[in-house]
């Protein structure tokens, strides 16, 4: 188990891959983001996407899926997250894309209100099979301190 004290600024981790299918894209969109370019190839061709593209919120959910699946077994003593900052969709995610996620610890500080934990910020990038960043976001994680565990 990895505690707050074990995390160093600059620590890198990689997650994935995850293959994206047209069926996945349409199923998520039908339930949460039913805009034509997320539901139909032909409708997508008429837009700047140039074809079917995943909802950005689907890309966010797939990124979460990869982060939760972990980076080979080392678990972090997570106490949850208050949210995230600066989410940007940089390129379309299309059927057939293979996504992976990289995460770099960019900031850490002990909690002032809760001595049992600290807060770590990670720069998270989601990339496709051509190593293009499709989404970036700064995640915020509350992580238990070792002495409190």
């Amino acid at each position: 188990m990895k505690y707050f004290e074990d995390i160093e600024i600059g620590d890198l981790a990689e997650y994935g891959p995850l293959d994206v299918t047209a069926e996945d894209i349409k199923r998520f969109a039908a339930e949460y983001d039913p805009q034509p370019f997320h539901l139909d190839e032909e409708a997508g061709k008429a837009t700047h996407f140039g074809g079917l593209a995943a909802s950005g919120w689907h890309t966010a959910a797939m990124t979460m899926k990869l982060l939760i699946a972990g980076d080979g077994g080392e678990h972090v003593a997570s106490l949850g997250s208050p949210g995230f900052d600066d989410l940007r969709w940089r390129r379309p995610v299309r059927p057939g894309d293979r996504l992976r996620v990289t995460s770099e610890a960019i900031d850490k500080k002990p909690s002032e209100s809760r001595p049992d934990m600290g807060v770590v910020r990670f720069q998270v990038n989601t990339l496709n099979q051509d190593d293009e960043v499709v989404m970036s976001v700064i995640t915020i994680a509350m992580i238990a301190r070792r002495e409190a565990a």
Copy 2:
């Protein structure tokens, strides 16, 4: 159709409601965020959630669903979104909650690079049936200018 010129700072809109079920919470979590407190009532009781709670990314997706469904028919000439800022999960979302979303235009400016559009920022809050804010986020919308349409 509502264009960039038609949007005033302070404009308010409301969306919803949407009822949240335990089945919805578990189904989203099983696919995208399979942490025990999002999958199982008993596991949730053992945490600070005190019971089954929706994945924060599920709450984000449900918020998108309500925004897309619209506020009674007036459509905005949306050209998509580059992302969003300052997403915060403020309270758990639980089975039986009835969610609604409020949106306030807080900033607008013409695009410097694209004369056919402007960029509007909205403070979006997701509330439960007790009028508690469960999530807040600043969304960023690219909206067509009337003269370009």
